[in-house]
C-alpha cells in the first residue's frame, strides 16, 4: 500500500464522488484521510497472497425470482417525491452528452 499511496488527491476524488468541496473542507479532509490511510497501511504486515477474498460473510447462491410481473408504484407517489417534473417525467438540467 505504501508503494501506491502517494497521498490522496481529495479534490480529484471528490469530483469522482460528485461532491463540491470548499477549500477548507478539502484541506481538513486531506489531513484526516491521510491519517486514516496511514493507519490502514498496517494491513501490509499480512501476507494474504493465498487467501480468498470474502465478499459475503455467509454466501448463498442462485437467489432467483420467477419472471412474474408484480406491482409497480403509484405514479403520483413517484412524481410527488421528485423535486422537479413535467408531464409525468422527471426533469433534470439539460444533458449535453455523456
Amino acid at each position: 500500500m505504501s508503494e501506491v499511496n502517494q497521498g490522496m488527491d481529495v479534490g480529484y476524488v471528490a469530483k469522482l464522488a460528485c461532491i463540491d468541496l470548499t477549500d477548507k473542507e478539502k484541506e481538513l479532509f486531506q489531513g484526516q484521510l491521510d491519517q486514516v490511510l496511514h493507519y490502514v497501511e498496517q494491513l501490509n504486515e499480512l501476507d494474504v497472497a493465498d487467501v480468498e477474498p470474502t465478499a459475503h460473510a455467509i454466501p448463498v447462491y442462485n437467489i432467483l425470482r420467477k419472471d412474474e410481473v408484480g406491482m409497480s408504484l403509484d405514479h403520483a407517489a413517484v412524481m410527488n417525491n421528485a423535486p422537479s417534473s413535467i408531464d409525468g417525467q422527471i426533469r433534470v438540467p439539460k444533458i449535453i452528452d455523456q
Binding site: D20, Q35, Y39, Q42, V51, A57, V92
Partner: protein, 488 residues
Amino acid sequence: MAELHKLTIAELSELMAAGKCTSVDIVTDVLASIDATEGKVGAYLTIDREGALAQAKASDEARAAGSTLPMLGVPIAIKDLLNVKGQPCTCSSKILEGYIAPYDATVISKLREAGAVLLGRVNMDEFAMGSSTENAALGQTSNPWNLEHVPGGSSGGSAACVAADEAIASLGSDTGGSIRQPAAFCGCVGVKPTYGRVSRYGLTAFASSLDQIGPITKTVKDSAILLEAICGLDKNDSSSIDAEVPAFGKNLSDDTSLAGMKLGLPKEYFVDGMDPDVEKAVRDAVEHCKSLGAEIVDVTLPNAKYAIAVYYIIATAEASANLARFDGIRYGMRLDGRDPAELYGKTRAAGFGPEVKRRIILGTYVLSSGYYDAYYKKAQKVRTLIRNDFTEAFKQCDAILAPVTPTPAYKRGEKADDPLKMYLDDILTTPVNLAGNCALSVPCGFSATGMPIGLQIIGDDFQEETILKVGHAYEQTTEWHTRKPEIV
C-alpha cells in the same frame, strides 16, 4: 395505571393478556413519558401520536377478538433509516428532505404482522455513519444517564429512547457496532443478528455486506421476543438466509445455570487504553458467568486488531456506491445546476454532513483506478482471516465474552474533531460485522462516573439462541438492567 412505560414487552404482554391494561393505556403512558423527558433526551425525529393511538386502539380490538399476536399492542420506536410507507425516512440527513417512503421495509411489515404499534422515528448518525449520534443533521440526542454525554451511535436515538422509557423497545441497525455500542452506552440490551437473519429490504443501506437490523430493549427476553418477530427468509433480499427461526422468546428458560457451557475469553479484546472500569466490569461479568457454571476458556482472535482497517475500507467503499443514489434527481433535496454534474455536486455538498462526505471520499478513493487491489481486495482477504479466527474460536467454545467498547459513553464533542480516534473505538464491535456472526450487548456495570458498561456476548453463525441464553442467565442473576437513569 401508572408507570406502564417503565415495563418490558414481556410484562406488558402479560398485563394486556390478563386484561389489566390496554395498548391504548400503554401508548398514552409512553407518550406522556416522552412529553416529560424528550426535551432533555431528544431521541425522536418524528412522533406519530395519532397513528400510534389508532394502532393501539386497533390492537386492543384485535385482542378483544381473540388475537394473541406476539407483539400485539406494544409500542416500538424505529431508527430513521427504515422505510415506513407514507412516512419520511431522512436517515438524519438533509439530503432526504421531502422524501416520503412509498413502501414498508420487510421488518416493518413483520412488526405490523406481529401486532406492534409504530410509535415514531428516532435519531441516528447521518446514514448510520458514526458512533455518537453527533453526526446528525436534524437534532441532538443525549445520553439519558448524563445529558452531557453522547448516547453512542449510530443507533443513538434507538438506545436513548429505550433507556429513557420513551419506548418499550426499538429497532436499530448495526454495521460496525451501531446497535451494541449505543445499547452499552445507554444501559440497554442490543442484538446484532447473524448476517442474513433479518431482511435488509427497506433498510437504507450504509454497507450492504455488513448491515443488519436488530432490537434494542430493556431486557434480554424482550430482545428475544422482538428478534423472533423480525427474523426470517425474505425473497426481496438476496442476502437473506433460509435458516430456521427458533422461538427465541419462549425458548428462554428461567434456569440460570450455565453448567456445561464453554465461554471463550479473547485476550486481544482487552486492548491498550481500555478504561479500567470497563475492564473490571467485564472481568467481573466473566467471573459471574463462571459462578453460574460456565467453563471459561482462553481463545484467540489474532486478526481482530486489523478489523478497523478492514472495516473502514469495505464499509466506506460500499457506502460510496450506496449513497450515490442521493443525487437530487428522483427524490429529496435538489440544488439546481446548469447541467446534471453541477446539480449533483451542489446538492451533495449541501445535503451531506462532513462525516458522510469524508467516508464517501475515502470509499471512492479505495475503489479508484489503481488502488482497488491494494485496498479493497486486500481488505476482503483480511476479512477472510478475521472470519476464520471466529470459526477456529468456536471450535473451542459456545460463545465468546468481551467488552463492547473500550470506554463508557463520553462527553459530547470530546472526539468530534478526530475521526480516526472515533473510528478506533469500534475495534471491539467491527470484527463480528466482518465475520457475519451474531453478538449481544447486555448491561454489566457502571463506571465510577455512573455511566453504563456493556458485556458483549458473541455467538457463532445463527447461534442467537446461545447468546440469548447466556445473556438472560447473566441478566437474571444481576441487577444492572433494573437501574434507571435519574431523569426517568
